[in-house]
C-alpha cells in the first residue's frame, strides 16, 4: 500500500479500490453470531456442571458423562465452540498477518479446530456408549 514505493504508481483511487469488493462476508459474520448465541447457554451449562462436580472422583464423573443429555449437550458444545473459535481466530489472523503466511495459518487453524472437535466428539461418544 505504501505510496512511497516508487514501484507502485497507481492513482490513490486505484489503491483504495484494490481488487474490488469480494461481495461476500456476511456469511462468516452471521455464523459467528449464531454460534455465539448457542454458546451462551452451553458454556454456562458446562461451567455449572464443572462447579457442581468439584471434588468428584473419576467414577462419578464418568457416570455423569454417560447420561444421554450430558453427552448430547457436550457434543453440541464442542461443535459450536470450535466453529466459533475457528471463525474468531481467522479474523484475528487476517487482522494482524499480512504476508503469504496468512493463508497457511488460517488453513492450519481451521483444520486444527475440525480435528479437535472430532477428537472431543469421539471421546464423548466413547464414554457415552461404554459400559
Amino acid at each position: 500500500m505504501d505510496p512511497q514505493n516508487m514501484q507502485d504508481m497507481r492513482t490513490p483511487l486505484a489503491r483504495a479500490i484494490g481488487l474490488g469488493s469480494a461481495k461476500e462476508g456476511v456469511g462468516a459474520w452471521w455464523a459467528e453470531r449464531v454460534s455465539a448465541v448457542a454458546l451462551v447457554p452451553l458454556t454456562l451449562w458446562l461451567a455449572a456442571s464443572i462447579i457442581a462436580h468439584t471434588g468428584s472422583d473419576y467414577a462419578t464423573f464418568i457416570v455423569w458423562l454417560r447420561t444421554p443429555l450430558t453427552a448430547i449437550l457436550m457434543i453440541l458444545l464442542l461443535i459450536a465452540l470450535f466453529y466459533h473459535t475457528a471463525l474468531g481466530l481467522q479474523v484475528v489472523i487476517e487482522d494482524y498477518v499480512h504476508s503469504g503466511a496468512k493463508f497457511a495459518t488460517v488453513i492450519v487453524v481451521r483444520l486444527g479446530c475440525c480435528a479437535l472437535a472430532t477428537a472431543g466428539v469421539v471421546a464423548t461418544l466413547r464414554i457415552a456408549f461404554s459400559g
Partner: protein, 134 residues
Amino acid sequence: MMPSPTTIRPRPLSPNLQIYRPQLTSVLSILNRITGMFLSACAVVLVVWLVAAAWGLQTYAPVQAAIASWIGRIVLFGATFAFFLHLCGGIRHLVWDTVHGFELRSIYISGWSVVAASVVLTIAAWVAGALMGG
C-alpha cells in the same frame, strides 16, 4: 537509506498505539480479543481432558492432577475470569448487533457493567466451587 534519483526519504508515520489514550472502548475490545484467544487454548485443554477421560483412569489421573495442582488452579481462576469477561462482552456485542445501546452514555454504562459482572460471577463461581467441596 541513501538518497538516489529513484529512492526518496519516506514520510514518517505519525504514532498510533504509542500515544493514543487507552479508553474504555478500546480497552474492553482488546480484552475481549485476548480472552477469546486464551479461551481457544482452554478449548484445547477441554478436548485433552475429555480424551483422557475416555481412555480410562490411567490417562485421566495425570491430567486431573495437573488441573488440581496449585499452578493449575491459578490458570483455572484466570480462565474463569476470562470466560466471564468474554461471555459478558460477547452479550454486549450481540446487543450492539441489533443496533441498540450505541449512545455514548449506554456504551460506558454497559462497559462498566461487563467488568463488574465478570468480577462478581468469577467470585461467585469459585465460592460455589469451594462450597461444593473442592
